[in-house]
């Protein structure tokens, strides 16, 4: 069971959270986006093998969404942030 670092509540067991997918996808401006840009945002993913910025939702806690940077191969987590913030660079090199 992963330990998910909620920026508001601290580290909590994975079972308190719901995974909500790629955090790098942003909804384009509907006024200016082309159809292609618009549909890309709905359907296409980078799906990286390695570091992945993703959204988690603290459903059984504070009910906040937040970003987590996790390695999709090792499951090592190296930071989290509010959805509107950038995740701080991983300076320690130690995710634990």
């Amino acid at each position: 069971m992963l330990l998910i670092p909620c920026p508001w509540c601290g580290e909590r067991a994975q079972t308190e959270f719901s995974y909500e997918g790629d955090a790098t996808v942003s909804r384009p401006d509907p006024a200016t986006a082309s159809d292609e840009q618009w549909l890309d945002h709905i359907y296409l993913r980078d799906n990286p093998m390695g570091l992945h910025e993703e959204l988690w939702h603290h459903v059984a806690g504070c009910r906040r969404f937040f970003k987590v940077r996790r390695n999709t191969v090792t499951h090592e987590i190296s930071g989290s942030a509010a959805p509107t913030d950038d995740i701080p660079e991983d300076v320690s090199g130690d995710a634990s």
Partner: protein, 417 residues
């Protein structure tokens, strides 16, 4: 050497010293007509049918590890065609029909056991949905039977059909021709068949790049050097996004881990494949006697072939809820496989905007049962540069046109399919 009881007996006399290799281990040639990236069941089946049905034998299957080492050998081995949406219905039935003659066609016993697949319904809404699906199957000439709880109990004696459980069983949809097969044998059988027809299966060869020039593919870069090719097909479900990216494509796919579990071997105690959509659990008993079961994804993107405890507990809870006697049976082993989760839950088998580059992926939970069908229509697509009738709808552009095939009605949330 043809396999049969006679060759087995003859070889027994010579202490099995004279069996030939099931496949060669060739070095890659500088160039092939077709390269299939991915030596799992789908890639090997594609090569087999290219050679057998389309006369294209100058083919290499390039595999980063050992053949059949991905999802082909990691799944819960269920074979069925109980789909309700146009596109899926005919494709999976096409595959089941190939399964029905596969052992004989390959001269390799893949142990396709048509012991029936029962989907359990736990609510009125599910009964409705299952009947719609069953009727869609029947309209397409696919066998489907609706069963009452008592009929299910007669077939699955250890199942709890009482009301004294959280989600009582209210009925079920059975596909009698569905069943299970021996997963490794499928990869090995296709490998042996393809090899015998001249296909080079190149194991331990990691693809590091796909060469594209002037809008068409020219070859691949690998850990064993560059190999040229006129056409390249990828069949690397779990890693489709990674490999397609080498050709500059982004796909409507996320990679997730799905766990599978087996119990210790026991004497026959479950003769049918039983699945529950509501609890998302599926179980069968292998010929060796193990209960083979699984459930949902772990629900976060993953390329690690290992899973996590919460899902194991949930799946086990569903299993022992439906089969109270199994609480004293023991979990022997769990493992994970990496799924290509597409944005509508249905596969992608099509040509791409790059000439000579073809994609086969997005199998979600369903890749194993599709193996022969997938190889068959993918070979057709590559050979003819045009889809087979059964994969016409499995295009990439369906996501952009809106002609998605959304069996679960869950929308573009890959983990929900």
């Amino acid at each position: 050497m043809r396999y049969s009881i006679f060759t087995l007996a003859r070889n027994a006399l010579s202490h099995h010293q004279n069996w030939p290799k099931a496949w060669r281990s060739p070095d890659p040639k500088p160039e092939y007509d077709v390269i299939i990236i991915g030596g799992g069941g789908h890639g090997l089946a594609t090569a087999y049918y290219l050679a057998k049905l389309h006369g294209i034998t100058n083919v290499a299957v390039v595999e980063k590890g050992w053949l059949g080492g991905g999802n082909t050998g990691r799944n819960t081995t269920i074979v069925r065609s109980n789909y309700g949406q146009p596109g899926n219905t005919e494709f999976y039935e096409h595959s089941v029909r190939l399964w029905e003659g596969l052992s004989q066609d390959l001269n390799y016993n893949v142990m396709f056991s048509q012991r029936g697949v029962i989907n359990l319904a736990h609510s009125d809404g599910q009964i409705d949905a299952f009947q719609r699906r069953g009727n869609a199957m029947r309209l397409n000439g696919i066998d489907a039977v609706y069963m009452t709880p008592a009929e299910i109990k007669a077939r699955v004696p250890l199942l709890d059909i009482s009301r004294n459980t959280r989600f009582p069983i209210m009925g079920g949809l059975c596909q009698p021709r569905g069943g299970v097969a021996r997963h490794d044998a499928v990869a090995w059988g296709f490998a042996r068949g393809a090899d015998a027809r001249g296909v080079d299966i190149i194991q331990n060869c990691r693809v590091t790049g796909i060469d594209v020039a002037g809008g068409r593919v020219t070859g691949i870069q690998t850990s064993r050097g560059a190999i040229k090719a006129k056409k390249i097909g990828i069949a690397v479900a779990g890693h489709s996004g990674q490999v397609a990216a080498m050709a500059g494509l982004r796909l409507p796919i996320e990679s997730h881990v799905l766990q599978a579990m087996v119990s210790e071997p026991m004497k026959p105690c479950l003769d049918t494949v039983v699945t529950s959509g509501a609890a998302h659990m599926y179980v069968s008993q292998s010929d060796k006697g193990e209960l083979v079961f699984g459930g949902d994804l772990d629900f976060y993107n993953s390329y690690a072939q290992r899973g996590n405890m919460p899902r194991i507990e949930e799946v086990t809870q569903a299993l022992v809820t439906m089969f109270p006697a199994f609480r004293r049976a023991r979990m022997m082993r769990t493992w994970g496989g990496i799924m290509d989760m597409s944005m509508d839950g249905s596969p992608i088998i099509c040509k791409t905007d790059i000439d000579g580059f073809y994609i086969n992926g997005g199998w979600c939970y369903g890749g194993f049962k599709a193996t022969p069908g997938s190889g068959h229509v993918f070979a057709h697509t590559i050979a003819n540069d045009a889809p087979h009738r059964c994969n016409e709808r499995f295009t990439l552009d369906r996501f952009f046109k809106g002609t998605v095939i959304d069996e679960a009605g869950a929308g573009p949330t890959p983990k929900a399919h």
